[in-house]
Each structure stands twice: as C-alpha cells, then as structure tokens.
C-alpha cells in the first residue's frame, strides 16, 4: 500500500518537473523570438520603398514596452525612449544604410521574477552606409524584457563595456 503512494508521489513530482521545464523552455523560446523579430525587422539587404521602411520601423517599435531605458555609452541611444521615438530613430538610422544586419548570439536568459526576463547576449551590427562607410560593431548587452498582455516586450538595454580604456 505504502509503495503505491510512494510511486504515485514520485510520478507527480516527475510530471511537475517535466511541466516546469517545458514551460520554462517555452518562455525561453518566446523571449528569443522577440530578438529574432527585432533582427528580422532591422534587416536591410536591398532597396526599400518608403512604405516598407515605415512598416519595418513601426514593427520594431511594437516590440518595445511603453518606456524603454537605454543605458549605453553609444551616444544617440542613451536615456528613456517611447516605442514611437524608437520607431522614428529606427527609420532614420536604417535610411542611412544601403545594407544593415543585426544579429544576436550567446543568449543567457534568466527569469528573476514573474513577468520579467533578464537576457545577457552578444549583439552584432554590420552594414554599409550610403556614403560607403562600413559598420561592424559588436557589444555585450544586458536586456530586460517585461511581459505585457502575454507578450514579451523590451524594456531595458545596457551595453556592457568589455574592454575599458
């Protein structure tokens, strides 16, 4: 009789662990998906018409929370911005490039509290400006995403200074 209960309890614990791991994994995937979307919308690999540029900028803005804190030593990004301001900035920045590619690597995702994800990663931006100048920037970034109405939205970016002069 006792053995039956022990087996049942063991099974319940195993199911709980599997469920928790599965749920956490799916949250991981959802968080990563936001970065993939940001990468997709930021990409510029050919000539775009104004409508496509505006749509991409608007889609980028939709990935961000109401107030987004940028804490970086890259001058134009610092401060608190709204999604509209980010859309405008994205549109202006992308228009300076003939090609632009933003990619993310080495994700380390943590959930310090419910509805908050902290992500440490490497971000790499490559592109060619209209004046022919090449961009090739890599930075380690700490990001925070907040869950709003079941969607993970970017709410904070901090660039980690890897080499300090």
């Amino acid at each position: 009789m006792k053995l039956k209960y022990v087996i049942l309890a063991g099974l319940a614990v195993a199911i709980g662990i599997v469920a928790a791991v599965t749920l956490l994994q799916s949250e991981d995937k959802r968080v990563k998906k936001q970065f993939r979307l940001l990468s997709d919308w930021a990409l510029k690999d050919k000539e775009e018409n104004l409508l496509a540029t505006a749509r991409r900028a608007q889609n980028i803005g939709a990935l961000f929370a109401e107030k987004v804190e940028f804490n970086t030593h890259l001058a134009p990004f610092s401060g608190t911005l709204t999604p509209e301001e980010i859309s405008g900035y994205a549109a202006r920045s992308r228009s300076l490039f003939s090609t632009f590619d933003l990619k993310f690597y080495d994700f380390r995702i943590q959930f310090p509290e419910r509805g908050t994800a902290e992500v440490n990663l490497t971000a790499r931006a490559k592109g060619k400006m209209l004046n022919g100048e090449l961009l090739n920037e890599t930075h380690e970034v700490e990001c925070r995403l907040t869950k709003v109405e079941n969607r993970w939205l970017f709410s904070r970016f901090e660039v980690v200074e890897v080499l300090k002069k």
């Binding site: 690597y105 080495d106 380390r108 890897v162 080499l163 300090k164 002069k165």
Partner: protein, 166 residues
C-alpha cells in the same frame, strides 16, 4: 578480394554494431573537441593586421591557460557574452602596470615597449593609466587608424577564452 571490392568496402562498409560504435565515438569526440577545447575561428576585421588577416581561419585553443597565465605579447581571444563572437588582441600589460601612448609609442611604466609585431606606425596619444585589478591590458597590432576607432583596454582575466592555434 579485388581492388574494386576493397574500395567499395572502404566507402560503403557493412552496417555493423562495431561500425556504429566507432562512428558515434568519433562524432562525440569531434563535438567535444571542436565545441569546447579547440573552437574554429573565422577572423573578421583588420585590428590584428598584418599578423592575422581579415577573412582568415584559425582555432581557439582553450586549454592554453589551464595551468598558466597570459604572458606579455601573447595573442588572446577575449569573449563577449559567450564564445560565438570574440575579440583577438595582444597582451601588453598586467595588473598594476602603467600604460600610456605618446606620439604613437606604447610606454609601459614610462619606458617604451618593444613591439616587433606592430608594422603600421601611428600617432596615438593616451594619458597614463593603471591596469585594473584582475585584468590585463590588450591592444590590436594594427594601429593604423584613429585611436577612438580601435577597441582596446582592460580585459578582465575571466574573459580570456584561449589563444589562436597559430
């Protein structure tokens, strides 16, 4: 057995448990070796020219500092968040040492450092600074660019992943 049979047997061996075990072992070894100990590197950028060329291929040997610490003039790989993207730089100074650039010359504790690997002269000026605790000071070999465009400085020791294999 004819030569043709031997060649066929070499390229299309009989599917036996022994073969499967051998293939699995090789796959596991390759995964661990090239995934954790000897990571393939594709070098991008010109910061280590002319010693490491843009577009060249190398490996990052991660066990180099298992029982030792980086030495002056070593070329090291410095990681960002992980080891997918890394910086390749030259070690020039250690914790507590004073680093300075004066008219393109790298001064270490006030004395010019001999750097035979630097081929492109520069006119950099950088005020004296002390290398931070638990850090080393790393710089690229190619200084033929404005100082603000060159990524260099204090790298925490924990960020040193390994060295290029050649």
């Amino acid at each position: 057995m004819s030569i043709k049979d031997n060649i066929l047997r070499f390229f299309f061996p009989a599917l036996t448990w022994k073969l499967l075990a051998r293939v699995s072992l090789i796959a596991l070894f390759s995964y661990l070796f090239f995934g954790y100990f000897c990571i393939p590197l594709h070098i991008e950028g010109i910061s280590m020219e002319p010693n490491y060329h843009d577009g060249s291929f190398n490996f990052c040997w991660r066990l180099r500092y298992l029982f030792s610490t980086p030495q002056r003039h070593d070329v090291v790989a410095v990681r960002f968040a992980g080891d997918r993207v890394m910086l390749l730089k030259r070690v020039v100074a250690f914790e507590g040492e004073q680093v300075e650039f004066r008219e393109g010359k790298l001064l270490l504790n006030g004395r010019e450092l001999n750097e035979p690997y630097v081929r492109n002269p520069c006119d950099w000026d950088l005020s004296p600074r002390i290398v931070r605790k638990d850090s080393i000071y790393v710089i690229g070999d190619n200084r033929n660019m404005p100082i603000e465009n060159h990524v260099f400085g204090n790298a925490p020791i924990r960020r040193i992943v390994g060295v290029p294999l050649w």
